[in-house]
Amino acid sequence: MSNKVIMLGNEAFARGAYEAGVKVSAAYPGTPSTEISENLVKYEGVYAEWSPNEKVAMEVAIGASVSGVRALASMKHVGVNVAADPLYSVSYAGVNGGLVIVAADDPGLYSSQNEQDSRMVARAANIPVIEPSDSGEAKEFIKFAYELSEKYDTPVMVRSTTRLSHSQGLVEVEDRVEVEDRIYERTPGKNVLMPGNAKLRHIVVEERNKKLAEDGAEFFINRVEYNDRKVGIITSGIPYQYVKEVMPEASILKLGLVNPLPRTLIEEFAKNVERLYIVEELEPVIEEQVKSWGIKAIGKEIFTIQGEYSANLLRKALAGQELAIAEKAEVPNRPPILCPGCPHRSVYSVMKKLKLHASGDIGCYTLGAVPPLSVVDTTVCMGASISMLHGMEKAKGKEYVKNWVAVIGDSTFMHTGINSLINMVYNKATGTVVILDNRTTGMTGHQDHAATGKTLAGEATHEIDIAGVCKAIGVSHVFEVNSFDVTALEETLKRETSREEISVIIAKAPCALLSKEPVKAQYTVKWDLCKKCGSCLKPGCPAITKTADGTVQINDTMCNGCGLCETQCKFGAIVKVEL
């Protein structure tokens, strides 16, 4: 019987880590990397956790490696920035047990705030990067990454992209290799990175890089496919698939090791083809190096740095061909929105009424930036809402921030929001921080965190009390309010934003998608009472729509029964229906 199964790229990464004998995994959820941990935790013999942020996750994995076991840290591309501090330095320390970081980039920004290329980070940190191009390779290559890590005494980055992480393909499943723990020996010259030691380690790192670049020519993950030698294409990762689709007759050098580049292999390939192209999504990482060696190649002159590639894109750029495609229809956009019954909508509807500006953060609640709510003014990165509000107050004074609030989710608050709140207290700030506590990490698909009382493995654990944390830091004015109690919210927001001290308002209500129970009540419109004023439409619930005659209707397949619309109607035209 065949052991072939169909797996998401992220499931395959988890499978590969399991088969490689990984014993410890740590991560913070982030699209497109989340499913790696969610799958890895299901395997026996693997400890997998959600850490509060990527820096912590990275350090947990480093600790496990130092102790002598194979360890994994996985994160989205911007998570790599959070983990950058330990990452850059562990490059000097090297490993004991194999240490792999899966970094999942997001070309096309399906669910991210930028389009950065993790290969650039790895180059700066001097760590090798391996790039698979489908689920099967995702599993195989991560196993090879562990061998490489231990052989060359280096952390290894396995780079994914959204298209790889979230595509399913066939994977040949094998047994787990039970790797014996490596012996721990005290080696401060390697593991204590103080200047005297690190100086010497830097030399080791440079030598390691050189050796990898030389040996890389022999790694099975790099593959030359000679066909017609008129055209040669150097590529890696998912773009390889697009190249195969468009130019099956071309010669291809498919790189599995994209840092350091296997120079001799590339030089030889370049010699053997007439016209050389380099096809890589995002930054010209391979291209710039290859060109710096005096090799003539065509890359970003004809391929974009932005967004995701496709076969059609390559077809156009390489051959100037365009397929005959039916005319694209003009249709209204359908941007993502807060779900029906979302507690964030309720909180934002009150902020909008009070004409407050919100310094925003990363999560579902970023969607408070778009019409009709339009409350969120800024979103930069995890935890920035609170620190940016603080910066505004220091720049413009106490009066200025009275019509501002910071909004941050519970999971994001645990991630890096806490540090920012500590800073506010320490530096005598004023301002109102609203923690939108929906009891989960919402946008990434409901992951637990330090304040939900459950671990990644689903075990009960101590539930960190967010209000207690805020008080312990030194915030005197901490209030917990039900997110759907718009009267209490309005009163609390008015009072606290005018106060010249720090306040934290914790708006609490579970995510509408969290409950597995069927909806107990819904709302409906009494047509004869509807005055067509449109008040109920202001919060932008997708379940409520205007009909041709100007009255509204509530879609009973969408309504989650939150009741926010009822509070908006002055005429009693929206009523509850128990189910």
Partner: protein, 190 residues
């Protein structure tokens, strides 16, 4: 020859679930298969698209414009948005449901009228009110198997293979109703 299937709809409508049945099916009949999904922010009520490609050997995991053999649209506006992905002789299956996107809800855009009639001018359209049909069977959740039944007619995979995979995929208690749903779809446009 690689076959290209697309499933489009609104985040939350169950497009992912449908594509997973297709993945299992292709594995069952011994094809190479790649499926591309959308997770994260777009799933929150946004426009979502899933690509399924199967054949002897599949390279890229996405379906390109002008290449889809079958386009399954769970919602009318999304059918219109992605119709140009179909190849000339492709089949467009449209579920007769309308969900207003936010620009329409707030009055910044209008929901196009006569979508199905307009699509019929250019494409081979098979219309279905899958939710109504599913409700008739007493279980609205089986609506995606009705849609799959319609698609199955255009996918060269044996009826029995579909039945085996559906039985293996859905909760045991709902096997019969799901098979029935598929059967209704399969014979709907004969």
């Amino acid at each position: 020859m690689t076959k290209n299937i697309m499933i489009v709809g609104v985040g939350g409508q169950g497009t992912l679930l449908t594509s997973r049945i297709l993945g299992k099916l292709m594995l069952h009949v011994g094809y190479d298969v790649k499926i591309s999904e959308v997770h994260g922010m777009a799933q929150r009520g946004g426009s979502v698209v899933t690509f399924v490609r199967y054949g002897k050997q599949v390279a890229e995991p996405i379906v390109e414009e002008g290449q889809a053999d079958v386009l399954i649209a769970f919602e009318q506006l999304e059918a219109l948005r992605y119709a140009h992905f179909l190849r000339k002789d492709g089949i467009l299956i449209v579920n007769d449901e309308k969900i207003d996107p936010m620009p329409v809800v707030i009055g910044a855009a209008t929901y196009p009228k006569h979508i199905i009639e307009d699509l019929e001018k250019t494409y081979n359209v098979l219309k279905v009110n899958a939710l109504e049909e599913a409700k008739k069977l007493g279980n609205p959740r089986v609506f995606n198997n009705i849609v799959l039944g319609i698609a199955a007619k255009h996918m060269d995979i044996a009826y029995e293979d579909w039945m085996t995979v559906i039985s293996d995929t859905v909760p045991p208690k709902t096997i019969e109703v799901n098979k029935k749903a598929f059967d209704i779809g399969f014979h709907m446009h004969e």
